[in-house]
């Protein structure tokens, strides 16, 4: 079992990277299913389990960074258990979901904890050290690889119950708390953005954008359209009302002065 668990772990690691980087979507159950099938020696069952799990995860996609139950772990563990235990793929879903949910929480956690790395990057940016930025860029993918490897390896190697116990060691309040913190975190990003962008003259537009979402529930595109409309109007009227170039008058006066002098 060790070799197979190892192979599955490696695949999960790759898929885990692909879920966020590359996005070729080899990480979806439809692909992962047959791959696991191959590893565990039952390609067709893997294919079919992958199909079932693909449908379960249809529409469960990360919007604006919010993580749904993890599709990689769901696909890998679901298929593996379907083949190992010889259960119907539909039953395997039940086994896969708690692991997928745990992975979801952990990734939220990783994305929360990763914020400080940005500040390392800031320093490199300040120093125009692009190599430094490049290097920092590779950290998270490696981390994700390790993480997905472990989460996939353990339950295959030790069996689901033992693995579930290990998973359950993560305290609820911590996971929940970090996920709450993750939800709030963009406020810092916006504050930093405002720190650069904010001028009092632009404050009214911030307010209008905010009200349009908070009260009227308009989607961002609608706000951007209205924003462009307002900006264009503003652009045009500033044009219209450009005061007559006074320089002209000034020149006349200067000429005048010269003239008087000349007398």
């Amino acid at each position: 079992m060790f070799v197979q668990a190892l192979l599955i772990g490696l695949w999960a690691g790759l898929a885990g990277i692909d879920q966020f980087n590359g996005l070729t979507h080899i990480h979806r159950p439809i692909v992962t299913g047959p791959v696991i099938g191959l590893i565990l020696g039952d390609f067709t069952l893997g294919l079919m389990a992958g199909a079932t799990l693909e449908l379960v995860w249809a529409g469960m996609v990360p919007l604006a960074g919010a993580q749904p139950p993890n599709v990689v772990i769901g696909g890998v563990i679901g298929t593996a258990f379907a083949i190992i235990t010889g259960q119907d793929p539909a039953v395997a879903v039940g086994i896969a979901v708690p692991f997928a949910v745990a992975a979801q929480a952990s990734i939220t956690l990783i994305f929360t904890a990763f914020a400080p790395v940005m500040h390392k990057m800031d320093v490199h940016a300040k120093n125009a050290n692009t190599k430094g930025i490049d290097h920092l860029t590779y950290i998270q993918p490696i981390l994700l690889f390790g993480f997905f490897f472990i989460i996939a390896f353990l339950p295959i190697f030790f069996g689901a119950e033992q693995a579930a116990e290990i998973v359950s060691l993560l305290p609820e309040w911590l996971i929940n708390g970090l996920s709450v913190a993750g939800g709030i975190m963009p406020a810092i990003g916006f504050a930093m953005l405002l720190n650069i962008m904010f001028k009092w003259v632009y404050a009214p537009f911030f307010a209008i954008g905010f009200v349009a979402v908070a009260y009227a529930g308009l989607p961002i595109l609608a706000i951007a359209i209205v924003g462009v409309a307002i900006a264009a109007y503003d652009y045009f009227i500033q044009d219209n009302v450009k005061p007559e170039p006074v320089t002209n008058t000034q020149t006349t006066i200067d000429d005048e002065e010269d003239f008087s002098d000349g007398i």
Binding site: L23, G33, L63, F114, A115, H124, I188, F210
Partner: protein
């Protein structure tokens, strides 16, 4: 026309080398398409794709800003909060690179960047996550379910055809559009940067209300009367009040000289506290 701006020093608007040669080649652009695959490599909830976005631009920025001061300014600017749909990113890259090459004011570049990211995020999610993926996945699943090995193959081919075609096409399309737009808007850079800032600020205002997930899940039991603090009190005062206040708090702390790391610590403590007390 003096708007008292205390932030000017944060990222300077001044460009030391204002020469605007066309230095980017098709090859450079293609290189940055490949880099764009790592857009989410440094994903985190503070700046989301800010790091990966900067990473994806590095070859271009280096070629454009041979001056270290200017390069540093550009890098710092791009390192800020950024988030959009990963498949549409190259369009933003293209437009922004054209502007960088033209040495537009940082203010203008920033405004356009922010103005694009919000709408493209929503459009991309609708088009790719919620349409292309379920369609290709669904068709493939129905093949796979019958044991047909064509399922995963068709899925990968069809999906990535669209995916990679878009990445390359949009980079060049965006770059071309950016270049053309610049020529049109050339005249009044002050006015253009103002227009860009207007849209950008509206989008940021909108994002504050929609991206930040901060609400109380807290019902006070006053004797027999239950009072739902979020639904009955906060929302009655103003929906989105907490996200707005928290953003303002962070902004104020930054102004006071607190480092973003302090803010992250504070936010994590808040999250944990809210979780332990069971009110968030």
């Amino acid at each position: 026309m003096e708007y008292n701006n205390q932030n000017e020093e944060v990222i300077s608007n001044e460009i030391q080398d204002p020469s605007t040669e066309k230095v980017l080649t098709k090859k450079d652009l293609n290189k940055m398409v490949w880099r764009s695959l790592l857009l989410q490599s440094s994903f985190n909830y503070e700046r989301m794709q800010g790091g990966g976005w900067t990473y994806s631009l590095i070859p271009g920025l280096k070629k454009i800003h041979t001056n270290d001061h200017d390069l540093s300014n550009a890098l710092q600017d791009h390192m800020q909060f950024f988030n959009t749909h990963p498949f549409l990113i190259t369009f933003v890259q293209g437009v922004i690179l054209a502007m960088e090459e033209n040495k537009e004011k940082r203010e203008t570049i920033r405004g356009i960047k922010v103005a694009l990211m919000g709408p493209l995020g929503g459009i991309g999610d609708a088009l790719f996550w919620l349409t292309l993926l379920p369609i290709t996945g669904g068709i493939a699943a129905s093949l796979s379910a019958e044991g047909n090995v064509a399922g995963p193959i068709i899925f990968l081919v069809a999906f990535n055809l669209v995916h990679f075609f878009l990445r390359f096409f949009l980079m060049h399309y965006g770059y071309g559009m950016g270049t053309r737009a610049i020529t049109v808007l050339k005249e009044g850079t002050k006015k253009v940067s103002r227009a860009a800032s207007i849209v950008g600020m509206m989008v940021v205002g909108a994002l504050v209300a929609s991206y930040i997930n901060l609400s109380l899940n807290w019902t006070i039991q006053a004797g027999e009367i239950p009072v739902d603090i979020q639904g009955e009190v906060i929302d009655a005062i103003m929906p989105g009040l907490l996200p707005l206040l928290y953003t303002m708090l962070c902004y104020w702390l930054l102004k006071k000289g607190r480092s973003p790391l302090t803010l992250i610590g504070m936010t994590i403590v808040l999250g944990l506290a809210g979780s332990i007390l069971g009110v968030m």
